[in-house]
């Protein structure tokens, strides 16, 4: 049924949105595409799994606590790997994030094995029924959290001094430095925030997708969603994610599950051909 597909699509879309937001945070401040965003969610998921199942901490607490190890990991990575690459062209940093992602994924596989862990359902698995459409409680929470994050981050980047500093750094590092922006501090903060949120996102995702080293692959769709929305816009990332979720589900429902991914990618390519800056993108004018 059409609306059910749409509702499920919104639910999957919100999963992507959680990770997509992480991409945008880093891109907005550093012009870098963070290819380990999926893997940090994986780290968060494993940590969350351990805390929830073995330490028996309440779920809400787990979601918040994971922000800390996530942020710390981000800070450490920034310090060892990315800081030395500040002076390099952006491609180096992007590949570095890719390398970190690969390292995290293989470490997870070595430590935990390729076993797929099922995160026990947190909320009542019986879906809620709204107007003949079913949606799980977990999905509703994810949608709420994502929207909350979206607003907070949007306000942060637009109105706070640090947020402005981040945007300035992205636009022109040298000038930002001259204006008194602590570029090093901004970098550290950016990676910390993005990794922290990423790890938390992993905990939110875990009950819906099982916990395993490859779970970071969902980040490919999230990446696509963020770009679709215009890579430097939080509302864009969320909207893009929801669109992809819905398109995917409709394709899966009406055409067939094999075509699901193919259709999503085709839609992405078409969208970018017609909107080269993403749906909410403003073309950035680069001076020669």
């Amino acid at each position: 049924m059409f609306w059910q597909q749409v509702a499920s699509g919104l639910a999957s879309g919100s999963l992507y949105a959680l990770i997509a937001i992480g991409f945008v945070i880093i891109y907005k401040a550093t012009d870098v595409v963070n290819f380990y965003q999926g893997e940090i969610a994986m780290v968060g998921a494993y940590l969350g799994y351990l805390m929830y199942l073995h330490l028996r901490l309440p779920y809400g607490v787990v979601v918040f606590i994971t922000l800390i190890p996530g942020a710390i990991l981000g800070l450490i990575l920034e310090r060892i790997a990315f800081r030395t690459l500040i002076r390099q062209p952006v491609l180096s940093m992007i590949i570095a994030t890719l390398a970190v992602g690969i390292i995290l994924k293989s470490l997870a596989r070595i430590i935990f094995g390729p076993v797929v862990y099922a995160f026990p359902p947190v909320f009542n698995p019986e879906p809620l029924s709204l107007w003949s459409v079913k949606i799980t409680v977990q999905s509703v929470w994810i949608l709420i959290t994502v929207t909350a994050f979206m607003f907070l981050l949007f306000l942060f980047f637009k109105f706070t001094k640090i947020g402005l500093g981040m945007r300035a750094t992205c636009q022109d590092k040298e000038t930002a430095l001259m204006m008194g922006v602590s570029v090093r501090g901004i970098f550290s903060l950016t990676w910390a925030i993005s990794s922290g949120i990423g790890a938390s996102a992993g905990v939110l995702l875990a009950p819906l997708i099982s916990v395993e080293p490859e779970m970071g692959l969902v980040a490919i769709k999230a990446f696509a969603a963020a770009i679709l929305g215009g890579f430097h816009s939080f509302p864009g990332a969320v909207v893009g994610s929801l669109i992809i979720g819905v398109v995917e589900n409709l394709a899966g429902g009406y055409i067939g599950s094999a075509m699901k991914d193919i259709v999503s990618f085709i839609v992405i390519i078409l969208a970018l051909i017609f909107f080269p800056g993403g749906l909410f993108g403003k073309p950035m004018v680069k001076k020669v």
């Binding site: 891109y27 595409v33 790997a81 030395t84 690459l85 390099q88 491609l91 180096s92 590949i95 570095a96 890719l98 390398a99 970190v100 992602g101 690969i102 390292i103 994924k105 293989s106 470490l107 596989r109 070595i110 390729p114 490919i220 990446f223 696509a224 770009i227 890579f231 094999a258 991914d261 193919i262 990618f265 085709i266 992405i268 390519i269 970018l272 051909i273 080269p276 800056g277 993403g278 680069k286 020669v288």
Partner: protein, 312 residues
């Protein structure tokens, strides 16, 4: 500054050694050399579009796969001879290269990365699911290549085939790099606006860059079909595209020599760690990271500081 290794002599000696290889190396090593030759062709092609022209191509496995499947299908299902199937594989790949070049005209950075990645994913999904055409995950078996009276069924014979094609394509690449097109690529990478202002036709050269690198990928793929005798959708996905990327980053962007070095290293690494899959990835990632931090211009960049190896 005295050159440490006179270039032409070194190359001559290397080529002679290579020609004599099959006489004293065992079959497994020859097989690895074949894989290295194929990887070199791939890496050189990728470097043309990413290193020189500065365009991001995250779906390169699709070109490789197109060449591999086209050649495989023509040889297996239509029994076409190898000396038609291989170039056709290259040409079909080139066509796809043009197609991908079209969105590239308006996109750059992460946007282009996504489009190329999407193409790559779509390609893999199609070859996996289109059973009727490609036998899907079962893989497609490729009969031995024949060139006149010679049947390339043994790795040693294939070695010469791969060697010749590899050398020819390397020479081609060196020539392209030094030609007007090569200079246009670099201009394109450094600043599109400035390049346009001196009359460089962006459209033409962007499309050429993608098409050319796709051609290389396609030929490499066709060769792989002959060397491996089997094509399988799992070999042509994102993981592979990323490993080609690693080849040129580790070896050195915008350097044909760098591509060669990178290709050798990655293939050897893959073979050494082949059985320990998770450790393979770990070493991969760590190596990549270390190279990025300590040798940002790749191994070739580092070497050209030490020995006077000419940088293109």
């Amino acid at each position: 500054m005295k050159k440490l290794f006179p270039k032409r002599l070194t190359i001559l000696v290397l080529v002679l050694l290579l020609l004599l290889c099959p006489l004293f190396l065992d079959i497994y090593l020859i097989y690895i050399l074949n894989l290295i030759g194929i990887a070199i062709v791939l890496a050189v092609g990728l470097n043309l579009v990413m290193g020189y022209a500065g365009q991001i191509s995250l779906g390169h496995a699709a070109f490789y796969g197109t060449g591999a499947y086209t050649t495989a299908l023509l040889m297996a299902k239509l029994s076409w001879p190898f000396w038609i199937a291989l170039p056709l594989g290259g040409m079909v790949a080139t066509t796809f290269g043009f197609l991908i070049g079209i969105p590239a005209l308006r996109l750059s950075g992460p946007y282009l990365a996504l489009v190329t990645l999407s193409f790559g994913e779509i390609f893999q999904l199609i070859i996996t699911h289109w059973y009727k055409l490609t036998e899907g995950p079962l893989g497609l078996v490729v009969p031995a290549a024949k060139l006149g009276p010679v049947v390339f069924d043994k790795d040693k014979k294939l070695f010469y085939l791969v060697l010749v094609i590899c050398i020819l394509l390397i020479i081609l690449a060196y020539n392209v790099v030094k030609s007007k097109a090569g200079r246009a690529f670099v201009a394109l990478r450094e600043s599109e606006i400035a390049a346009q202002s001196i009359g460089i036709n962006l459209t033409k050269y962007k499309l050429i860059a993608f098409a050319l690198s796709a051609f290389y990928g396609g030929i490499a793929g066709g060769l792989y079909a002959c060397v491996g005798h089997l094509v399988d959708p799992l070999d042509f996905g994102l993981f592979q595209s990323i490993s080609y990327l690693s080849m040129i980053i580790i070896g050195g962007l915008s350097s044909v020599t760098g591509s060669i070095i990178g290709a050798i290293i990655i293939v050897v690494l893959q073979q050494l760690l082949g059985r320990l899959h998770s450790y393979q990835e770990l070493v991969y990632g760590v190596l990549l990271l270390l190279i990025l931090i300590f040798m940002p211009r790749g191994i070739q960049g580092k070497l050209s500081g030490i020995i006077k190896v000419r940088r293109d």
